[in-house]
């Protein structure tokens, strides 16, 4: 069974530029999550989708971050414009249904200079 796929793996951008991350969850998983993980900390949930609907985006900085999940499968997370403090690893995870164990993709390491 294929795992969660993410791209790109690494991205370096300058502040005020924009960036987009892509995620393809495990086939059949209805719930998709985007997390931000800052070095030395646990993952912090940015947004949770159930199929193509948003369940929780309370910690998403909506003035600069946006996310969508087209047709309830793939998802993209965008940052525009990026700030220095956005430097982190962005993890995508999926689960069969909400509250189930989550399976993580390899993450995208973002560096904002």
């Amino acid at each position: 069974e294929a795992g969660v796929a993410q791209s790109p793996r690494y991205k370096i951008i300058e502040k005020r530029q924009s960036v987009a991350f892509w995620c393809n969850p495990i086939s059949g998983h209805a719930t998709l999550y985007w997390y931000q993980q800052i070095l030395g900390q646990g993952p912090k949930l940015l947004i949770q989708f159930q199929n193509n609907g948003v369940v929780d985006d309370s910690q998403l900085p909506k003035d600069r971050f946006s996310a969508e999940r087209l047709k309830g499968v793939d998802s993209t997370l965008k940052i525009q414009p990026a700030k220095l403090e956005d430097s982190a690893v962005y993890l995508c995870a999926s689960s069969y249904k909400s509250r189930d164990e989550q399976y993580f993709g390899p993450g995208t390491r973002l560096t904002v200079t």
């Binding site: 030395g40 993952p43 949770q48 189930d100 164990e101 993580f104 390899p106």
Partner: protein, 110 residues
């Protein structure tokens, strides 16, 4: 509210045992445990649900005290491969959202 993990770091010799604790102030629906190696994604270890159901790797054991909102992960006869950062995640009965603790770093030495 973020769960609190203890200890923050542990250093073991191969074959020794360790216990990692996770505590929440909220009524919990479930507790998740994940291990993350440096530069890699978190990997699911175990989920413990209210009511006693558990699901996870056979070689991992854990407990969940629903009344105290506490969980413990037991690592016995540790191996070098056990090294990494262990995160507990708690799902509150109210929100259903998974919130991760700050992590416990485990280093197993030969």
């Amino acid at each position: 509210q973020q769960p609190v993990q203890s200890p923050q770091a542990v250093i073991l010799r191969e074959g020794e045992d360790a216990v990692i604790n996770c505590s929440s102030s909220k009524a919990l629906y479930s507790v998740h445990w994940y291990r993350q190696k440096h530069g890699e994604a978190p990997v699911f270890l175990m989920i413990l649900l209210k009511g006693g159901e558990q699901k996870g790797h056979e070689k991992i054991s854990a407990s969940f005290n629903e009344k105290k909102q506490q969980s413990s992960l037991y690592l016995t006869a540790s191996q070098l491969s056990y090294s990494g950062t262990y995160f507990c995640g708690t799902v509150s009965s109210n929100t259903g959202k998974l919130i991760f603790g700050q992590g416990t770093t485990l280093q197993v030495k030969p």
